[in-house]
């Protein structure tokens, strides 16, 4: 009898662990060339610009660039909500996500992002300065980028 109980408890435990691990909220890598941008519906192809929102409920929304991500976030009232996680790609390391709120941004019209906001994110000030020295552009932080997108969408 006891043995049976232990077995069922163990089994339940395993099931619960499996379910919980399945629920774990976290960034999901973008499958470039297959995934679709949640905002503009375009296929996401350029691996230097992909962006992502992970919501407090663990839902993942993928975008082809930061402009689409912010426009979507504005519609959904995600901006300023600390529970929503914003991720952008490090321009210097394609396909690697960095936290958008602490990222270093550059806008440069000569580098055309998929929807034309032409904003690139960098993981460190060093890599941003390196880019500026080579190609130029204007320096922005996360708040500046939001303002820029707001202005564009008006």
């Amino acid at each position: 009898m006891l043995k049976f109980r232990i077995k069922t408890v163990l089994l339940l435990l395993i099931i619960v662990i499996l379910i919980l691990s399945g629920c774990k909220a976290g960034p999901e890598p973008i499958n470039y060339g297959h995934d679709e941008c949640e905002f503009c519906r375009m296929q996401i192809t350029d691996n230097r610009y992909g962006s992502e929102i992970v919501t407090d409920k663990g839902k993942v929304f993928k975008f082809d660039e930061i402009g689409c991500m912010i426009e979507y976030a504005l519609v959904k009232n995600f901006i300023g909500d600390a529970n929503q996680k914003f991720l952008v790609t490090d321009f210097a390391k394609p396909e690697t996500f960095i936290d958008a709120t602490n990222a270093f941004f550059i806008q440069n019209e000569n580098f055309r992002s998929p929807m034309g906001s032409n904003v690139m994110g960098f993981g460190s000030e060093i890599s941003r300065q390196k880019f500026i020295a080579e190609s130029g552009g204007s320096l922005l932080n996360w708040v500046d980028v939001i303002e820029l997108v707001k202005k564009r969408s008006m």
Partner: protein, 413 residues
């Protein structure tokens, strides 16, 4: 005396004409002018440069004079995979009859087979573009024609592949009768005014057959877009005319005959949507009239999202689609009238050619799939048929207002 003066004037005229009239220069590998670059350096405005058969690999060729470049029996101009091939910076340049091959792949530069920058009255006709990063690239230009070209890319990954015909910030551009294969986007329009895309064939491109953004007052007619990675995308635009195009075989999870996003005051007429995952997807569209189109053998003929309003669907044929219409809203602010629906099973007792009871094209099952995509496995099951019938009698979750009050009994020809 008089005749002598006349003669002198005539002679002077002839001399003058010999000096300034356009001359023809011949480039051949065995001749005195053996490179295209040399010929351009020697040329004056309005000269013609005739290129004899052979292979020319000269790196980047800059055309800064008003010249006509004509290839005889398709000479090969090879970029050897480095940089750009032709860069045109002068107006009134005409290039035809060349094979242009291997412009360099780059992450920073948009290297093209022929790039035209800030020019007017140019034409690119009857060339073959093979394995270029971008084939033809027009920026900030006007009144140009790109016609009768054969364009084939390498079909690598999207990041290593550019667009076939790329038009950016231009006006009055005509793209006619080109054949485009294996690029990223076959034809790309961004910030174009009064562009015309006619009689082109765009097939097997990695992403879109036609990618069209922020381009008001443009028209595309009689083109075929077949088997492209994601079909055709037309976005953020007013006043687009889309007539008599064929959207064929765009299969895939996110593939569309046309993806329409934020389009207003436009017309979609007499097009064929055949064998696409989603024939026509509309999000944020308003005042678009969709008339006399054929939707056949699509997964979804039409997906109409909640924020689309005041669109008119008249005289279309919906035949053999898994789903005719699906939507994510219970409301409907669009008009459907006089369409032919193969699924319609009502009668026409007064014989006016239209069914006596309205047709509801949105089935309960299609609503179910919108919220729970995995339930698609139940397609064609008895359970679903029963649900659909029950729902059609007492609508509970399908949009009540989305009906065709006058469904046709016969197809529109």
């Amino acid at each position: 005396m008089l005749s002598q003066i006349n003669l002198r004037i005539l002679l002077a005229c002839i001399l003058l004409s010999a000096l300034t009239f356009p001359k023809e220069m011949i480039v051949s590998q065995s001749g005195s002018i053996n490179t295209i670059t040399k010929a351009i350096n020697l040329a004056n405005d309005y000269d013609t440069i005739l290129i004899k058969p052979g292979q020319y690999a000269e790196g980047n060729i800059i055309i800064d004079k008003k010249v006509k470049i004509i290839g005889e029996k398709f000479p090969l101009v090879d970029g050897k995979g480095i940089g750009e091939i032709f860069t045109v910076t002068s107006s009134n340049v005409h290039i035809s009859g060349l094979i242009i091959k291997n412009s360099g792949i780059s992450y920073l530069e948009e290297n093209a087979g022929i790039k035209l920058k800030e020019v007017r009255n140019c034409s690119i006709t009857n060339n073959k573009f093979i394995h270029n990063f971008f084939a033809v690239y027009l920026a900030k230009s006007a009144d140009c024609i790109i016609s009768d070209n054969y364009i084939e890319g390498e079909r690598k990954r999207e990041a290593n592949s550019g667009n076939g015909i790329h038009i950016w910030y231009c006006r009055d551009i005509t793209i006619e009768n080109n054949k485009i294969f294996n690029h990223r986007d076959g034809i790309y329009f961004e910030f174009v005014r009064h562009g015309k895309i006619i009689d082109n064939h765009s097939e097997r491109n990695l992403r879109y057959g036609l990618h069209f953004m922020f381009s008001d007052s443009c028209e595309y007619t009689n083109n075929t877009f077949e088997n492209n990675g994601a079909g055709v995308a037309v976005m953020y635009t007013k006043n687009v005319l889309m007539y008599e195009n064929h959207f064929l075989k765009n299969w895939g999870a996110a593939s569309y005959g046309i993806l329409l996003k934020d389009i207003s005051d436009s017309q979609i007429e007499k097009n064929l949507f055949d064998e696409n995952s989603i024939g026509l997807y509309m999000e944020g569209c308003s005042r678009v009239s969709i008339e006399q189109n054929n939707f056949t053998k699509n997964g979804w003929a039409l997906k109409l999202m909640a924020n689309s309003m005041e669109n008119y669907f008249f005289d279309n044929n919906f035949v053999a689609n898994s789903f005719d219409i699906s939507t994510n809203s219970r409301q409907n602010f669009n008009t459907f009238e006089k369409n032919y629906w193969a699924e319609y099973d009502g009668y026409d007792l007064n014989k006016d050619g239209y069914g006596d009871v309205p047709f509801r094209p949105v089935t309960m099952f299609s609503m179910m799939i919108e919220s729970h995509p995995t339930s698609l496995v139940l397609l064609h099951s008895l359970f679903i048929d029963i649900l659909n019938i029950a729902e059609s009698i007492i609508p509970a979750i399908t949009p009540e207002a989305l009906t065709d009050a006058k469904p046709r009994m016969r197809m529109v020809n």
